[in-house]
């Protein structure tokens, strides 16, 4: 309580003093520069500069209210709360107004010192953080060029004086946010400078130079940490450096940062404390950053050619990571798997890495033992996907890797591993390979492996001709770095002896581990057989109690791991969905594999939608015919829906190719009625989608069923009705069902405050169908022949059904092509077609051809303008109406004979309405 009271008191005093200072600077009496100078001088002298002036607070003009005891608290308070604000203030008010008037010395003393304090002052590390923040903020202050220039000048000076290590020494207890802020500022500073100064950026702030400097500073601070770590390592500093390094790596500044670090590491890695610091750093890095770091190192290794350099590099890697690799799994993965197997460096790097693992000398059950490394190679080597698809370079890499591994391994190392079996499997595959190089690689591996596995007589020999490459491959097995190291012990020097001692220690522990493992194995093989399931009943079941003695001679043979297939779903999950049209086709025709068919069919609609046009050009016809000919033999879910959607998408994707094909197929004999319906459905749906009459997006939202002809006709009805409402109220009234009337009444009595939601937003879309309509319409209508076999083979009711659907489809296509160039011709064809069937008697309960004919005429009247209809169907005589008259008579006759069903009334009234208005126009013409 007392303390906070004191603090409050001090804050008040400080605030007051600074207000006075700020006032004096802003509005000095008589514009006296001396007052300004004095005001600027005092905060620095009392709170920043390390002098004994503190005792003379009483002589201060501004801070005389602060008493001696309060001084230290006041100083802290100034730095944490007032310093930044004061900097901002002087930038804004002194920099422009007074700074140019100061002499050189004054400039430094009264202004610059605030931003770039002397190193010996108290709380230096805080001051620089705050100051750095303010300076960098004002660099991008574009309102005032002069401030910008001054600040840039300061920043350059500031950064030259303060290195990463200075920033780093901020106390451990202090919140990390200040460090994160620093990291942020540093990493984007060059970007900032470039965006401010564009081409005139100072070379100091150029990205390359700047980060190089930061890199040097980082490695310098690591050195310092190592030097000062006699007692304990300042872990928090390393953590902070990790944050900085990670950030810079992520920004792609790896090379600039790692280069000095790498040089430093090479020089100092033998130093124990330095190694520890680097180890901590490596352990702290994430996988990605670690990869970048080691990637740089590997690239350096790539340049070493002579054995001497290889050995030195390998020993360096050994020194660098021997202490940490056993605990750092990401490093194990990087060095053991990624860099060896997946990334292709050159053979030198392989040599270095494999020798490194050989030197590590972990026992064979460890994941970083040399035998495990070989396993990694062999697993990749065996992979049939790798075998068939990998490039020559990748094959080379794996082959080199295996051969170099073999050069270090002895016959005994292979016991208790399945390498021999895998190897035998692989050799067979490689010998069958059709690629010469790969076969050769396989042979060389086979020869070397058999030599190692069988020691002497059973060695394979393919009698390969000794080309340079084969010589080189064989030399990889014969000579290794270990031999070289033994020959040149002076290079390894003291290190080797040291290692030997360690190795002995290791061996002791290894043997113990080994025993443990064996025991474990025994236990598991006896008690925990995975295949065995003991049911509840047989707790006392014991069939091995009798004659136990002589059973142990049955030693299990090697058993391949079998893939367990538990459920159909799992089986299905194992099949990958096709990515290309060809895959999809082969999946669809996999007659015996229902899962494959299902997955292919499920993916087909989307795949067709997303694939390129060239694919459709190449495979579209085939795919279409497969889809049409498929039958749901396995009762797959959503079979019909998917098939229909796939066909629709296919047709939409390339109408000029697919539409004529479908029309042609429609008149082929080998399709049944339902397949023909599918074709018609496809044509009408695609016509609708292309012409944008159907809003597919809306459909999805409502999650309706797939589009069918009936839906489309309903929509057509709706459109017609809407058109008729305005024109003929009387007809409309009859149509209103009771539900609609009630709905209307409710609507009338509902008060709405906003009508927004009721207004449908009309979207204007291009009618893409116009260009394609002819491909849909004419092939379909042109080939129709009611005496052809495809029609007569059906029974009468099926004939009616097909005819009805055909006319409906033609009608829909015509309607969708409204306003196109071909529309008139299409209408003429449709008119003739319908006319010839007007006396057709439907023989089915399920359909009515007359209905579809009326629909067709209704479409014609809605698609063409009245003038065009008059022109086309009105006949040549001056008074008569030609075909229109005949149509009128036919409909009237139907009405008289009561042959029109209730649902046809809509279409006939629509036609009559149009005829009426045409007649009226004609009459007008006549009388005018």
């Amino acid at each position: 309580m007392v303390e906070s009271h004191i603090l409050k008191n001090i804050r008040q005093k400080l605030s007051k003093s600074f207000k006075v200072i700020e006032y004096d600077i802003q509005y000095p009496k008589n514009n006296d520069i001396e007052i300004v100078k004095n005001a600027l001088k005092e905060p620095y002298t009392f709170f920043i500069e390390k002098t004994n002036l503190s005792s003379n607070l009483s002589i201060s003009k501004y801070f005389n209210s602060i008493i001696q005891n309060e001084y230290s608290i006041a100083k802290k308070e100034f730095i944490s709360s007032y310093y930044q604000h004061f900097l901002e203030f002087i930038i804004e008010h002194v920099c422009v107004n007074w700074y140019p008037c100061f002499s050189q010395e004054e400039k430094k003393q009264l202004f610059e010192n605030y931003f770039i304090p002397e190193k010996n002052v108290e709380y230096y590390e805080y001051l620089i953080h705050y100051s750095f923040y303010i300076i960098s903020r004002y660099i991008s202050l574009k309102e005032h060029n002069y401030i910008m220039q001054i600040m840039t000048k300061f920043l350059e000076k500031f950064l030259k004086r303060n290195t990463v290590n200075d920033f780093l020494s901020i106390r451990k207890e202090f919140d990390d946010s200040i460090w994160t802020q620093y990291v942020q500022l540093v990493s984007f500073l060059p970007d900032r400078m470039v965006s401010v100064y564009k081409l005139e950026t100072d070379s100091f702030f150029m990205e390359k130079n700047f980060f190089k400097k930061i890199g040097i500073e980082i490695s310098h601070s690591l050195n310092l940490i190592a030097e000062n770590s006699k007692d304990s390592i300042e872990n928090y500093k390393i953590q902070r450096l990790i944050i900085l390094i990670s950030k810079l790596f992520r920004l792609g500044k790896t090379d600039a940062i790692v280069e000095p670090l790498y040089n430093d590491m090479r020089k100092r890695i033998k130093n124990l404390s330095y190694r520890k610091v680097i180890g901590d750093l490596i352990k702290g890095l994430n996988m990605n950053e670690l990869e970048k770091l080691f990637n740089y190192i590997m690239k350096q290794f790539q340049q070493s050619k002579s054995n001497e350099n290889l050995l030195k590099n390998s020993l360096f890697l050994y020194d660098l990571s021997k202490d940490i690799i056993s605990t750092c799994s990401s490093l194990q993965f990087l060095l053991g798997t990624k860099f060896l197997v997946r990334v292709n460096y050159n053979v030198e790097v392989l040599k270095i890495l494999i020798y490194f693992f050989y030197k590590l000398d972990y026992d064979k059950f460890s994941s970083i033992s040399l035998i495990s490394i070989l396993q990694n190679f062999i697993n990749t080597w065996l992979d049939s996907y790798f075998m068939n698809n990998a490039s020559k370079l990748q094959h080379q890499n794996i082959t080199y890797g295996i051969l170099i591994c073999l050069s270090y391994l002895e016959h005994d190392d292979f016991s208790q591993t399945d390498i021999e079996i895998k190897f035998l499997k692989g050799v067979g595959k490689y010998l069958e390979s059709t690629r010469y190089d790969i076969r050769t690689y396989g042979m060389v591996i086979a020869e070397s492996m058999s030599e190692k596995l069988h020691k002497t007589d059973k060695k394979l020999d393919f009698e390969l001709t000794e080309t340079d490459e084969i010589k080189f491959l064989r030399s990889l097995v014969k000579n290794n770095l270990e031999n070289y190291a033994n020959e040149h012990r002076e290079l390894v020097g003291d290190e080797l002896e040291e290692n030997n001692e360690e190795k002995e220690d290791n061996e002791d522990t290894n043997t113990i581990n080994n025993d443990d493992y064996n025991q474990d194995q025994d236990v598991s093989s006896e008690d925990e057989d995975p295949d065995e399931v003991v049911s509840d009943l047989d707790i006392t079941y014991d069939n091995s109690s009798d004659e136990e003695s002589d059973d142990d001679d049955l030693e299990p043979y090697y058993m391949e791991e079998e893939e367990e297939i538990t459920s159909a779903q799992e089986l299905k999950n194992k099949i990958k969905p096709p990515l290309y049209i060809t895959d999809c086709i082969s999946g669809l025709i996999a007659d015996e594999e229902p899962n494959k068919i299902e997955i292919s069919l499920n993916t087909a609609p989307e795949l067709i939608k997303s694939c390129g046009l060239n694919d459709i050009k190449e495979f579209g016809i085939r795919l279409c015919s497969i889809l049409l000919n498929m039958s749901n033999n396995y009762e797959l879910d959503n079979f019909e829906e998917n098939r229909q959607e796939a066909l629709n998408n296919l047709l939409i994707k390339n109408p000029t190719l697919i539409a004529p094909f479908i029309c042609e197929q429609f008149y082929q004999k080998n399709y049944n009625l339902s397949q023909k319906f599918i074709m018609l459905n496809t044509l009408s749906t695609a016509a609708n989608t292309l012409s944008s009459f159907l809003d597919n997006s809306k459909k999805n939202e409502k999650d309706e069923e797939t589009i069918e002809i009936d839906n489309i006709i309903d929509r057509f009805n709706d459109i017609n009705e809407n058109q008729n409402i305005n024109k003929d109220e009387s007809i409309k009234k009859e149509d209103l069902s009771p539900i609609k009337i009630i709905a209307k009444r409710i609507e009338q009595h509902t008060r709405r405050f906003s009508r927004k939601s009721l207004i449908k937003k009309k979207v204007i879309r291009e009618n893409k169908f116009l260009n394609y309509a002819k491909y849909f319409f004419f092939p379909l209508i042109g080939k129709f022949d009611c005496t052809s076999e495809i029609f007569t083979a059906l029974n009468r009711s099926e004939q009616s059904l097909l005819l009805e659907r055909l006319i409906l489809t033609l009608g829909i296509i015509t309607y969708c092509s409204m306003n196109s160039l071909d529309c008139r011709r299409m209408c003429r064809e449709l008119w003739n077609f319908c006319w010839s069937y007007r006396f057709y008697e439907t023989k089915s309960q399920r359909c009515n051809v007359r209905n579809s004919i009326l629909f067709g005429y209704s479409v014609i009247f809605n698609s063409l303008s009245e003038e065009l209809i008059m022109d086309e169907f009105g006949g040549n005589s001056f008074f008569g109406l030609g075909e229109l008259e005949e149509l009128y008579e036919w409909i009237m006759k139907l009405l008289e004979e009561n042959k029109i069903e209730s649902k046809d009334v809509k279409f006939s009234t629509d036609i009559l309405y149009h005829l009426k208005s045409i007649t009226e126009k004609k009459e007008q013409q006549l009388f005018n």
């Binding site: 003991v534 047989d538 079941y541 069939n543």
Partner: protein, 327 residues
């Protein structure tokens, strides 16, 4: 490191179609295919001795009566024929003669089972009842009479379906019958009083084969599912049993070796799996065939001084017989 499993020591090729059944004896191998052909093979020279059309339809099963030197074959033409192999061998004849025939019901694919004692004085044949495949008849082949009639359960009592496989055994001078049914049940009958000793549903699919160890202590059964049931042969209502779950589904046959050390399964995945008969752990997977394996047979030890006998023969849908030596 464990050894690789052995390869077959010989492949018999000669059938032109799926081989349904095989039997190995000391000097010959008998095999029958779905065209009705039976082939006798010399086990030493590995050559065909005789090939003849035994049935008008597929041969379902073959057995050999040691005491009388007769071959019995069951065809899908609903005939069970006995062939005089003894005379054929002694006279070096060119063809083999039928001794007797019996009309049976082979509609259900159920194979017959023959029980014989050492001198063949007791010859019992278990076969599904004519036109009633849920029931089993036991026929005495010596007297040619039906010894036990209509052994089975009504569907309303126990829903078991048709019988799929059978095994006749004589333990402690009592005759027992093990039957595997369509719905996965295995039922053990005491034939003396036609009582059900026990009824257990080991499998979820039809049972395809049952075998009993030579010590008559344990039985094993396989079906179209992935379970191998190992059970105790006892009159006790609740016999102890154990299930081995295999990683693959579908076994056509299972057989114990004469010394009861191992048993082998014939997998639809064209692999023979060898199991330790006591520990019930898998010992080896023998793969050679390219089609599902239909039947297996271990060579029996006929004399004490035969030495080690470890031959195993298998027949497969790929039309080959393969001979193995295992353990």
């Amino acid at each position: 490191m464990s050894k690789l499993p052995p390869d077959p020591i010989y492949i018999f090729r000669g059938h032109n179609s799926v081989i349904n059944t095989v039997k190995i004896l000391k000097d010959i191998v008998i095999s029958g295919d779905i065209n009705g052909q039976i082939i006798l093979w010399d086990l030493k020279s590995k050559k065909q001795i005789l090939k003849w059309k035994a049935h008008n339809d597929a041969v379902l099963s073959i057995d050999y009566i040691y005491g009388k030197e007769h071959i019995i074959s069951q065809g899908r033409d609903n005939l069970l024929l006995a062939w005089d192999y003894g005379t054929f061998k002694r006279e070096n004849a060119k063809e083999i003669k039928i001794i007797s025939s019996l009309v049976v019901d082979s509609l259900s694919f159920c194979k017959f089972n023959l029980f014989q004692n050492e001198d063949s004085s007791e010859l019992l044949l278990a076969i599904p009842k004519l036109n009633k495949n849920e029931f089993v008849d036991i026929i005495d082949l010596n007297s040619k009479t039906v010894k036990f009639d209509s052994i089975g359960v009504q569907d309303k009592d126990i829903k078991a379906g048709m019988c799929m496989c059978m095994k006749l055994i004589k333990k402690d001078c009592k005759l027992y019958l093990l039957v595997g049914y369509e719905y996965g049940n295995v039922i053990m009958w005491n034939l003396e009083n036609k009582d059900i000793c026990w009824n257990l549903k080991f499998h979820s699919e039809p049972v395809f084969a049952i075998d009993v160890s030579n010590s008559l202590k344990y039985g094993i059964s396989v079906s179209a599912d992935n379970i191998i049931a190992h059970f105790e042969i006892t009159e006790n209502k609740n016999p102890k049993y154990k299930e081995i779950k295999s990683k693959t589904c579908g076994f056509a046959d299972i057989k114990f070796r004469y010394d009861d050390k191992i048993f082998a399964t014939a997998g639809w995945d064209s692999k023979i799996r060898i199991f330790h008969a006591k520990k019930l752990i898998p010992l080896a997977i023998l793969s050679y065939h390219r089609g599902g394996i239909q039947e297996l047979d271990f060579l029996k030890k006929e004399n004490e001084n035969d030495g080690k006998i470890n031959e195993l023969i298998s027949c497969s849908k790929d039309g080959c017989l393969s001979l193995w030596k295992i353990y």
